[in-house]
């Protein structure tokens, strides 16, 4: 696994973090996010992706979620890529998310697996998501946006490339 780049939000906050010029030399992508948003309506919120600036349609997701001891599942058409802590979560607390995108340069529709958790003093939010982007284009860029509000300072999103090798070795 190799770090491609990390986007870090500065003191002014940011509406989104955009990665351009994603190298096409890896097999899979991994997105690791540590985020907090200004959304004042909840302790946590989804973050969205727009692959290749191709728009927000042709996405589908299945989510398994918990809020405290309450577990629920639902489907949707949002382009979910992770989870952010929001303004009602404990101060200076960030949600963590990982999103794995296998075969991101192959001419097939793209599937993404996402795990996320946002800690809270009373209820921690957890999500397991399967997301599909019905588009066979290789992923060369992505715009990552909180569902509501803006990312706050110290939010980071790191993009990693994974190159499959025999026996799990990294092939350089």
């Amino acid at each position: 696994m190799q770090l491609i780049q990390t986007g870090t939000v500065g003191a002014g906050g940011a509406a989104n973090i955009t990665f351009t010029g994603i190298p096409q030399t890896f097999t899979d992508l991994l997105i690791l996010a540590s985020c907090r948003s200004t959304f004042s309506g909840d302790v946590a919120d989804m973050i969205y992706v727009n692959f290749n600036s191709a728009g927000t349609s042709n996405y589908a997701n299945q989510q398994l979620a918990n809020s405290g001891s309450f577990v629920f599942a639902f489907t949707g058409t949002e382009q979910v890529i992770g989870f952010t802590a929001a303004a009602l979560s404990p101060a200076s607390t960030f949600a963590v998310s990982s999103a794995y995108i296998p075969n991101y340069v192959v001419s097939t529709n793209k599937a993404v697996t996402i795990d996320a958790v946002s800690p809270s003093t009373t209820n921690s939010f957890g999500r397991m998501v399967g997301m599909r982007w019905t588009n066979t284009a290789a992923i060369s860029s992505m715009v990552i946006t909180p569902q509501a509000g803006n990312f706050v300072e110290f939010s980071t999103i790191s993009l990693y490339g994974i190159l499959r090798g025999s026996g799990g070795a990294t092939v350089s």
């Binding site: 906050g13 940011a14 010029g21 639902f74 509000g149 993009l159």
Partner: protein
């Protein structure tokens, strides 16, 4: 934040820039967020509806009263 900005990371050069959103990007951003919030409100309403049904179903079960088909499905799938 008076001016909406985005963080743009060019993976080919490693350069990270803070760039103001264009008017079109701001319009898209605001429209997306409005729709997203409407979606979340709808989802929260559905969760609340299901919780209320479960509570009703449990109470009926304990009291020996008839459940609706939807209530029964929530309890036992």
């Amino acid at each position: 934040m008076n001016v909406l900005k985005k963080i743009v990371v060019d993976c080919s050069t490693g350069v990270q820039e803070e760039i103001d959103l264009t008017p079109d990007e701001i319009a898209d951003y605001e429209a997306t967020q409005a729709q997203a919030q409407a979606n979340q409100l709808a989802r929260e309403a559905e969760v609340a509806r299901i919780e209320a049904l479960k509570t009703s179903a449990k109470a009926k079960l304990v009291a020996g009263e008839a459940l609706t088909t939807e209530e029964a499905a929530l309890l036992i799938g």
